[in-house]
Amino acid sequence: MNFVIKNLSKSFDKKEVLRNIDFTFESGKIYGLLGRNGAGKTTLFNCLNRDLKSDGGSFYLETDGVKREVLADDIGYVLSTPTVPEFLTGRELLKFFVDIHGDRIGQPKPLDEYFDDMKIAAEDRDRLLKDYSHGMKNKMQMLVNIISRPNILLLDEPLTSLDVVVAEEMKQLLRTIKDNRITIFSTHLLDLALDLCDEIVLLSHGELELVDKADLDSGEFKEKIIEALKEEYDG
């Protein structure tokens, strides 16, 4: 399965943020979307999640040459600032998601198993989400997003504000769930991208560009990426 973006564009006032983006993402890989602050990473995600109307272009899923529209259920979107309904407990939110996505999930596991997988402590599961810490909200958001097994998982700077332990847990989790789906992970932390991702994609000048690792060692590769990103500023 491939996720194909064709000629996607978006401008704000006169500023062209996304410029006819053409790109094909392959299933089973984690893509690190690198871009400088303000390069348009979140805008791209918002367009793909249809929170923003794009000015032009399209995107679709393609399996063995057969194209189909990207449906709402195909996309999981984890925002940099976790947003969870404050009036529910962790368990209630999970139950709600399991209810709603019943047909996709099939036979759900007992709820506590999901919590165990996410390493959310037993005493926290029945607390209101408004009293969760930032990191815990983030975990919940990740959990409900992967529970429906979306084909495309968009992660907007998800690890930036997590403590080292949780961040490591999350990385591990992302590696275990990457099969059969496209994971796109935006960040401006180069080392994180190199550590976690199978491919590095640069968003600069409003365009997506795959960085070919070829035979470079990691130091040279880093240099190459930084040079490419700098150009944007100079150009």
Partner: protein, 522 residues
């Protein structure tokens, strides 16, 4: 000192000019006249600066003009006892004391103070003192002008009028000096202590005395008013030194201007209140599934602002009607007045139903505590799910609002019967059905425009001008209807017909457009 003042004034002006430009950029159509980045275009900036200065002058004079007009009208028209100059001074003295208690501009936390003192490192003392005396000068100027005009109109002598600006500044200086002295001895500003609440009580008593005593025929004798004014003028002259000599302005500002000033804008306060309104009662649960489950938990956890509030409103309505019913029974003339009102002034009902509807509170809680987060999940935005939840919520909001509406209907019915009834029997049905219909109308109205315009952005700020315009029009229509007298029968039937029609149209619109419009605003 002068330099500090000039710079801080320029800062405030820039802040204001940018606010004006920002506000203009929010108005549909007009915003197209502005360039993309108006903040850097010189002509536009000059224009905004001029408006900012006009604003400053208006701020100095306009409010005071209204104050004096109100004062004179009250003194001349409302209270016939004593000389109008006596009443004028009576009110002026008491209301000025109220102003002194409540309006301590120097110690109000505000953003421009924060920017000046902490971000831009102005000298706190120079900043505070120069701005304080500038504010006083503005006060004195306005009070001299209007004091003379309105004072002489009310029959005061010129020298008495000239005391007014001195008295007003004297009171202000005393209030500020008191705060500083209190701070020196107690280590905190009085507004942060029990005095902060106490002063509201005292102010309330003073306002009551200002208006209430003349209404009862009691007025402070003019010579005592003059004496009080003289005392404050002397005290003001003495305490002005305190304000100039005081050295710990920075500490005071550290106390009152922490990060919370920047954080605690109106939006964050609303958000905090919304989170607080969530019940932490551990026994709340639901046995339903899916969206019904979500909705039931939402309603139960927001009982305080939904059902409890609605029950409270119903109780208050019941109490008011009980009082009216007793009045109609006890007072013979009451019957006629009530009956006449009931058969000719039912449009009043609109503003009452508007006031007791929980619709805006419901939609705000819906967004901030629920939709704000769930709208980021794509399944939540699929047309089927949007409409499903809309239906569930509509039922809920109608139920919540129906309770007080039923009480109002029953109250009107009993009043109508006890006050002598009506020849047209349809009226008996109309006074019960109309409040119920209007209640359903408001419920549908608020939820529909919430779904069609979804006015909030991710920061839970209202970003839709259209939404605000509709809210305002809703209020204005209710207000204007209050003034209209038409027979209850016509109004009632028209209202019921309108409500039914509106519900149908709203339903169609939501089905057609909500799947596209129910999004978080960019």
């Amino acid at each position: 000192m002068v330099n500090t003042f000039k710079k801080s004034f320029a800062l405030k002006n820039t802040y204001r000019a940018n606010t004006i430009l920002y506000a203009i950029k929010q108005i549909p159509l007009i915003k197209k006249l502005l360039p993309d980045n108006p903040y850097k275009v010189k002509g536009v900036k000059t224009f905004a600066n001029i408006i900012a200065i006009i604003w400053e002058c208006g701020d100095a004079f306009f409010g005071k003009l209204l104050y004096f007009i109100m004062l004179s009208l009250s003194a001349v028209n409302l209270f016939k006892t004593g000389s109008s100059s006596g009443v004028f001074l009576h009110m002026l003295v008491l209301l000025t004391l109220v102003g002194g208690l409540l309006n301590t501009d120097m110690f109000e936390p505000s953003r421009d103070k924060y920017y000046a003192i902490f971000s831009l490192k102005f000298d706190a003392k120079k900043y505070a003192v120069s701005n304080y005396f500038y504010e006083l000068a503005k006060f004195a100027a306005a009070f001299t002008l209007f004091g003379i005009i309105f004072g002489m109109l009310s029959g005061l002598k010129l020298w008495q009028c000239l005391l007014i600006p001195l008295f007003v500044t004297g009171v202000k200086i005393c209030a500020a000096a008191f705060t500083l002295i209190y701070y020196e001895s107690a280590g905190k500003a009085p507004a942060q202590t029990v005095f902060g609440k106490l002063r509201w009580l005292i102010a309330l008593l003073l306002v009551a005395a200002a208006y209430g005593l003349p209404a009862l025929g009691l007025v402070i004798p003019q010579y005592i008013s003059i004496a009080v004014m003289a005392v404050f003028i002397v005290l003001g002259a003495v305490f002005a030194r305190k304000i100039i000599k005081f050295n710990n302005y920075r500490e005071i500002y550290c106390d009152i201007l922490n990060e919370s000033v920047i954080d605690k804008n109106a939006v964050n306060i609303i958000k905090e209140q919304s989170y607080k309104s969530i019940s932490t009662d551990g026994t709340i649960e639901s046995s339903k599934k899916g969206f019904e489950y979500l909705n039931e938990l939402f309603i139960r956890r927001h009982k305080k602002i939904l059902w409890s509030a609605s029950k409270k409103t119903a109780l208050i309505c019941a109490a008011v009607f009980a009082a009216l019913i007793i009045a109609v029974i006890v007072v013979p003339e009451g019957k006629e007045i009530a009956n006449k009102f009931l058969v000719s002034s039912l449009p009043w009902l609109l503003i009452i139903m508007y006031a007791i509807n929980r619709g805006t509170g419901f939609t705000r809680a819906l967004f901030i505590n629920c939709d704000h987060s769930l709208l980021t999940y794509s399944f939540y935005k699929t047309p089927g799910h949007i409409l499903k939840l809309f239906k569930i919520r509509l039922k809920e909001i109608i139920k919540i609002n129906l309770l007080p509406a039923a009480v109002v209907g029953a109250g009107l019915e009993i009043l109508l019967i006890l006050s002598g009834g009506t020849d047209d029997f349809v009226n008996y049905a109309v006074v019960v059905i109309a409040p119920v219909a209007l209640s359903i109308f408001f419920s549908v109205h608020y939820l529909t425009i919430y779904y069609l315009l979804q006015p909030y952005n991710a920061g839970t700020e209202i970003k839709s001008g259209m939404y605000q315009v509709i809210m305002y029009i809703t209020y204005m229509v209710c207000y204007i209807m209050m003034q209209i007298k038409i027979p209850t029968l016509y109004f009632g039937l028209a209202a019921i017909a309108f409500c039914i029609l509106y519900c149908i149209i709203a339903g169609v619109l939501v089905y057609k457009f909500a799947p596209r419009t129910f999004r978080i605003r960019a």
